[in-house]
Every structure is written in structure tokens, then in C-alpha cells.
């Protein structure tokens, strides 16, 4: 993992000291709320519906066990004993008190973490494939490039006051686990025809009130060009992005209104004015950053060791969990373990301090001290010996973290909704819990197979409902919550925005309607089809019919 150099450490320490002074001045009345608000937001501190909320950055979703223990400490000492993993791989605390926040940031800095650029109209935390460095599907580990972008974008003087926030996601695999086409800029590491590693750049994707799938800006960008090219794209956005209307200020609107061809011409023209050597980093510096992400020293092992196969035969619960939550690793004898944060009785993405410590211990014991957060609000232990899986499963069970529902109907993405968020129009957590309750039978979940339900409590779409196989949007009219349904969204490399079915429903009607659609799918599906595949084959009409029956 990347370790802060002296500049990183100094920057974060100075920023924390600054914020401590700003909080002191605010509490003493020497800063008004109007003056203080942008300062607190720059440090990830929001005032939400019921209390403050601190959003901590988890760069590219990578954490070590020491950092996760610190998050547990913050949850326990300064919050109410738990944290919430967001759809941008960050962690939020729902109940911090303003005088405590500087101490929280000091604590974070002690483990090389911070909350900088988790809010505001700047380049936000870069998100990444949670299987980075562990999957055989990738061209190379995308995290060194993500780290390079983090360093470049942190407090970037030219891009700290953009027309609107700016989100970048990266992956190095064809299978997209980072939702790169729904980001302002998505980057895929690829090989060109000559076998050179470079980048395919997507631009203008986004969800929110105007969902748009990103388009290709550059088919291939060589490694040395990355920062200069991003600078050119950001400059065009900074120059022409709308500042008169926040709802039309994202780059997706600019790209849509300009047209991708014209936008590309503008970026290339700007790029031509840049001296690439001024911005690009040397191979030596790239190698230095990459060295922090060097693979752990994997032992020479064989796949499917006896300890694993015996346990698979002897323990059905383990077998079901392993089949669903464990993914193939690039090193023989190792596995990628997904830890579901979607048990029936917790809000999606919530994890208690006790569980955080337990996962930290498991990371130390089984995964070289490393773990990941995912945009699907789960965790990953990236490097687990297959022979250790049975023992790990026992420890997950003891910690209440052995739900075997990854990618199934109860693995729901869900924003905090009206229960916590000041922007929300309706609750989303109770909807996810009602769905989890209705489909609680694990056998039924497995029968249904892969299904992505995503719930947002308002049109800002933090719950990614536009790209859910079933997307749910919570709204409110005359004091009554109701829920609009979208069908056919796709968050994968075949990204697609779902279609609205029609008028909304009450919670009770919604859950019945979802069950009707699932039953229809089970009746209609052909061999190997997921819900999404059947939807694509037979169209929206039959699903609407049973949804509104």
C-alpha cells in the first residue's frame, strides 16, 4: 500500500491544524456560519438532517488493518459505534460533534488518512476496482495510477473551484467493477495493438438527476500523457462548464450540449498547448509509486487444497458462502473474499466498531493486513489462502459477517435516505430492509441468482438506482413517501440506464410489485439467464403488467 511521503504527511498535518483553528474560531464566534461552511465542507464535514456527518476518504477503496482499526476507534469514541461505507468507497460517520472533529482528523492523519476533498466542487476521491492487484482479469494493478491522480488532484490550485464536483473511477479489467462509465471521467487501463499499456478515457458519465452513460474521449492514451490529458479535459470543463445553474453544471451536461466530437476537439486543442513534460511524471517516479503496490509475497500453492475441498464437502453453509462470496485470485492457491455488509438486520453498508476490529484482525491473519471497500457497500479481503477459507468463514460467522448474498437480491445498494440525509425526499433504508425481509430465504435468493437492486432516497441518485437491474427512487408528495421503479439498468461494462416503469408506489405495493416481477422472471427465464437478461429478451411490458397488477 502507498505510504505517505514527507509532503503528504506535512500537507495533511497542516490541513488538520488549519481546520482545528477554523473550528476554534467558529465556536468562539470569530467565523460566521457563512464563512465556516465552505471550510468544513472542504474537510468532509456536512450538517445533515439530524446532526453533523463526517465523510472520510478511502483512496481507491484500499485500507490496511491499522487504518480500519482507527475507523473503529473513531466510531466508538466520537460517534455512535458504527460507520457507513458509501457508494464511493468512503466511510461516513453520522453523529460526530463539531468540537471533536479536529481530534478525529488528527487521529486519521496518524494512520495516513483524511477527509480532504470528500465534498466541494473539486476532484473527489478516486474510486477503483476493489479486486485491484488480486484479479487475473486486469492488465495491471490500477492503484498506482489512481494514487498518481490522487497526488495530482489533491489541493490542485486550478481545479479546487470547478463548476461542480468531479468524480474519477479507474479499472484495469474488462469486467467493470468500478462503474467507470457513470463517472465524470472513467479510465480503463488497456493494452494497444503493440502490447503497450495505456488508458482508454471515458467522459461525461454520471447519475444524479440527469443520468448519462460516459462516452469515449480517447481510445488510447499512453502512460506518460495521463496527467497532461486530464489537465486538458479539466481545463475545458472549468472554462465552459455552467456555473449559473448547479443542476446543469456537471461535465456530463457540457459534453451532452457540446457533443462528444466537438468536446474532444476542444480537449485535444487544449492538450496541444500543454507541455506534457511539465506535468507528466518520470518513469522513475511512477515506479516509485508502483513499488508501494507491489504484490505481497505469495507462497507457491496449488488451487483447491484439501483443507478447502474437505470443508466444502463437510459444511454446507461454508460451501454456499464460498460459492457465492469468493472470487478467483491471480495467484494459485489464493482467493478474493467478499464480505457482505448486507445482513438482514443492518442498513446496507453499515458496520459496527466491533466488526471493524474483527475484520482488521482477519485482514492481518489472512490477507497481508489489507482490505478494500467497494462501491457496492461491501468489503473485500483481497489475498486469502484458499486453505484458510474455512477458518476465515468461522471468524466471519462469529462476527456476524458471513452473509452469503453477494450479488444476490438482498445485496442492495442503498443511500442513507431521509433517515440521515438533508437532501433526501424519502427513506431508503426501510425499503432495503423490507426487500431483505421478503426475500430472506437464502435458497430463494440463490434460485433468483444475480440481481442488483439499487435504492436512492432522492433524485441525486447516490444509491445508483439508474443502473440497478431494479432501481428504486424514493419521492414524497403531500407528506406521503412513494417509490418510482426503473428496470433494466446495468452497472457493468455494458452500462445502461434503466427505464422508468410509470407511476410510483407505496412501500407495501412496491415490495409486492418486486416480488411479482421476480416471479415472472422465474417463470420466463431461459437457461442461464439473469433477471436482467430475461428483461432484455422479453422487454419491459410484461414486467410492467405484473408490477402494476
Amino acid at each position: 500500500m502507498y505510504r505517505y511521503d514527507e509532503f503528504d504527511a506535512q500537507l495533511v498535518a497542516e490541513r488538520t491544524r488549519q481546520f482545528r483553528g477554523q473550528v476554534e474560531r467558529r465556536l468562539a464566534g470569530r467565523l460566521s456560519e457563512a464563512e465556516f461552511r465552505p471550510l468544513r465542507l472542504m474537510n468532509g464535514l456536512y450538517l445533515q438532517l439530524h446532526a453533523y456527518m463526517l465523510r472520510v476518504a478511502v483512496p481507491y477503496g484500499t485500507l490496511n488493518s491499522e487504518q480500519f482499526r482507527m475507523l473503529a476507534h473513531l466510531a466508538e469514541k466520537y460517534d455512535r459505534g458504527y460507520g457507513h461505507i458509501t457508494t464511493r468507497q468512503n466511510m461516513q460517520f453520522n453523529w460526530p460533534k463539531l468540537p471533536d472533529v479536529p481530534d478525529m482528523l488528527d487521529n486519521l492523519a496518524s494512520v495516513q488518512m483524511h477527509a480532504i476533498q470528500t465534498s466541494g466542487n473539486c476532484i473527489r476521491n478516486v474510486t477503483c476496482d476493489p479486486y485491484a492487484g488480486a484479479t487475473a482479469e486486469e492488465v495491471e494493478d490500477p492503484r498506482p495510477m489512481a494514487e498518481l491522480i490522487r497526488q495530482w488532484s489533491t489541493l490542485h490550485p486550478e481545479f479546487s473551484f470547478l463548476p461542480r464536483k468531479f468524480k474519477i473511477a479507474v479499472t484495469a479489467a474488462e469486467k467493470d467493477r468500478a462503474l467507470i462509465k457513470a463517472h465524470d471521467i472513467g479510465i480503463q487501463i488497456i493494452l494497444n495493438e503493440d502490447g503497450d499499456v495505456g488508458y482508454k478515457i471515458y467522459v461525461g458519465g454520471g447519475l444524479g438527476r440527469t443520468p448519462i452513460i460516459g462516452q469515449v474521449l480517447r481510445e488510447f492514451l499512453s502512460k506518460g500523457e495521463l496527467l497532461a490529458y486530464l489537465t486538458a479535459a479539466l481545463r475545458v470543463y472549468n472554462r465552459y462548464g455552467r456555473r449559473d445553474n448547479k443542476y446543469k453544471a456537471r461535465i456530463k451536461i457540457l459534453v451532452q450540449e457540446t457533443g462528444i466530437e466537438s468536446f474532444r476537439e476542444q480537449v485535444e486543442a487544449e492538450y496541444a498547448t500543454i507541455d506534457v513534460s511539465d506535468i507528466s511524471v518520470s518513469d522513475a517516479e511512477r515506479d516509485r509509486i508502483s513499488s508501494y503496490f507491489a504484490p505481497p509475497e505469495f507462497e507457491a500453492l496449488a488451487n483447491e487444497p484439501k483443507a478447502l475441498t474437505d470443508a466444502l464437502d463437510a459444511n454446507r453453509a461454508f460451501s454456499l458462502w464460498a460459492k457465492n462470496n469468493v472470487a478467483a485470485h491471480k495467484a494459485p492457491g489464493y482467493a478474493i473474499v467478499n464480505i457482505s455488509l448486507k445482513p438482514k438486520d443492518l442498513a446496507p453498508g453499515d458496520i459496527t466498531a466491533t466488526q471493524m476490529r474483527a475484520v482488521s484482525d482477519m485482514a492481518d491473519k489472512f490477507s497481508f493486513g489489507e482490505l478494500r471497500s467497494t462501491h457496492q457497500q461491501n468489503l473485500v479481503l483481497p489475498h486469502v489462502k484458499q486453505a484458510d477459507l474455512p477458518v476465515l468463514f468461522e471468524e466471519l460467522e462469529a462476527a456476524g459477517l458471513a452473509a452469503d448474498n453477494i450479488n444476490l437480491i438482498t445485496d442492495i445498494i442503498c443511500c442513507p435516505g431521509m433517515d440521515f440525509c438533508a437532501l433526501a425526499t424519502a427513506r431508503s433504508i426501510p425499503i432495503s430492509q423490507a426487500i431483505a425481509e421478503r426475500f430472506a430465504d437464502p435458497e430463494r435468493q440463490r434460485t433468483i441468482g444475480e440481481m442488483q437492486i439499487k435504492i436512492s432516497g432522492c433524485i441525486n441518485a447516490c444509491g445508483h438506482h439508474h443502473v440497478g437491474h431494479i432501481g428504486i427512487l424514493g419521492l414524497e408528495k403531500a407528506g406521503v413517501e412513494f417509490y418510482q421503479v426503473k428496470l433494466g439498468g446495468d452497472a457493468s461494462e455494458h452500462a445502461e440506464i434503466g427505464k422508468v416503469t410509470g407511476p410510483g408506489f407505496s412501500q407495501e405495493e412496491l415490495i409486492d410489485g418486486i416480488e411479482n416481477m421476480v416471479d415472472l422472471y422465474l417463470k420466463q427465464r431461459e437457461a442461464g439467464e439473469r433477471f436482467l437478461d430475461t428483461y432484455r429478451r422479453i422487454g419491459i411490458a410484461p414486467f410492467k403488467e405484473v408490477l402494476y397488477a
Binding site: R26, A28, L47, R80, T425
Partner: protein
Amino acid sequence: MSTLKHKGKGPQSMTANELRDGFSVWLDENLDWTRDFSKALRTEDQDLIDRMHLRAETDEKSNLVVGIYFIDIEPDTGLPARYREKFRVNGPSYDTADLLETN
């Protein structure tokens, strides 16, 4: 802070968030801030409303509270008229912290 839709007709209450702890608060009959909405002052008396406004502005300047605004109250129920404000009164319908406390 409330975003909009205060009609200013009928009974009113004054609300804000505590600056230090961030919790939602309402002015009570003594024009002190309470976290308990059941103790909130709900009134149509314009003189009282003016006094509430003055008190809230003073307390905001004194850095006790942040984001002051009036909310409309349903005359029949005594509850906030807007759904969002009803929600602020009750707190989250689900909070993992509550689960931790019961275990």
C-alpha cells in the same frame, strides 16, 4: 437547514441545529432551545413570532445555533406540516446505533 416551502401562515415554530453538537432544536415557551419537539412553542401570535425570530437571530449570532428557520405547524395535530420537518422531529426511523444499544 430547511430548503424552502415555509408558508408563514397558521401556527409556527422556530427551529435550528445546535452549533456544537449539530442536533435539531426548537424554541420552547421560555424561548430556550429544546431537543424535544413536544416542548416546542407553536404559535400564531405575531408578537411572539417576532420575539422568537429575534431570539433565534441573537442565538445564531452568539454561536449557540446554526441555520435558524420557521416551520409551519398543522393546527390539528401540532406536528410540522412538511414531511421533512416531521422527520426531523422524530429522528431516524432506523439507526444502527439503536441496535447496538439494545444488544
